[in-house]
Symmetry: C2
Subunit: 113 residues, 2 copies
DNA sequence: GGAACATGCAACCAAAAGGTTGCTTTTTGT
DNA sequence: ACAAAAAGCAACCTTTTGGTTGCATGTTCC
């Protein structure tokens, strides 16, 4: 199980994760959920100007991207944060930065010649 | 100029950056561009099944998000990578992870009691 | 000057996104 | 048993997205 292969497989799943984070409302949901406690839809709707149904849709988007996970508990469904997908794209962004930094370094040494 | 204020100002710009990365085609463009050299639209179109116009649109999306920057040089417009926006969302994701880790730690110590 | 190249611009199109409203179903608490 | 709470389901609407084709404009180079 090479690292390379791992990131290749994960590659297809990256765009949806970025896309899921590409919305202010969903970013604020993530901000609340990553604090740890699971929240019900009704609770998560609090503070937003949107309807419960709209929030539900956003939560499903996050869920499809794997960023969040829901379990029905009684009459409410509780959503909780899942760290892996975000860790994965962080690693990806690290690669991008690294690649860029290498370029800068190379450029600098070229100028210094 | 507090750190807090800096990230508050940047906050509005975060979602568009994530959104811009939420597409396979654009991710692959970023992957090419972060290697350092500027590329023309025609060059960036190579290897994609899409038309030049489609690629142009994707590049404009990246540009609006600040991830990329274009300068007209003669008859071609050369696009080059800009690192800041991606650095910014990396920092943001670090905060999310950190918040989550704190929760795990708190949870663990609770269980241990 | 004119052919070939690189883009820009615009109209158009289908599908997806982001919302809403309205109604049903499941659970709870008294 | 029943009212209220929480969520699911579905239809509908508007705007955005991702793509196309067709044509105009600006540059290069011989």
């Amino acid at each position: 199980m090479s690292h390379k292969r791992h990131s290749r497989v994960a590659a297809k799943r990256r765009a949806p994760v970025f896309a899921a984070l590409g919305d202010e409302t969903r970013l604020s949901l993530v901000a609340r959920l990553c604090a740890g406690q699971p929240y019900s839809i009704a609770e998560l709707t609090q503070g937003h100007k949107l309807t419960r149904q709209a929030i539900t849709k956003h939560l499903r988007v996050l869920e499809r991207a794997g960023i969040v996970h829901s379990i029905r508990r009684g009459r409410e469904s509780r959503f909780e944060f899942v760290a892996e997908p975000i860790e994965a794209i962080k690693e990806y962004l690290d690669l991008v930065s690294e690649k860029w930094d290498q370029t800068l370094t190379r450029l600098k040494s070229f100028v210094e010649d």
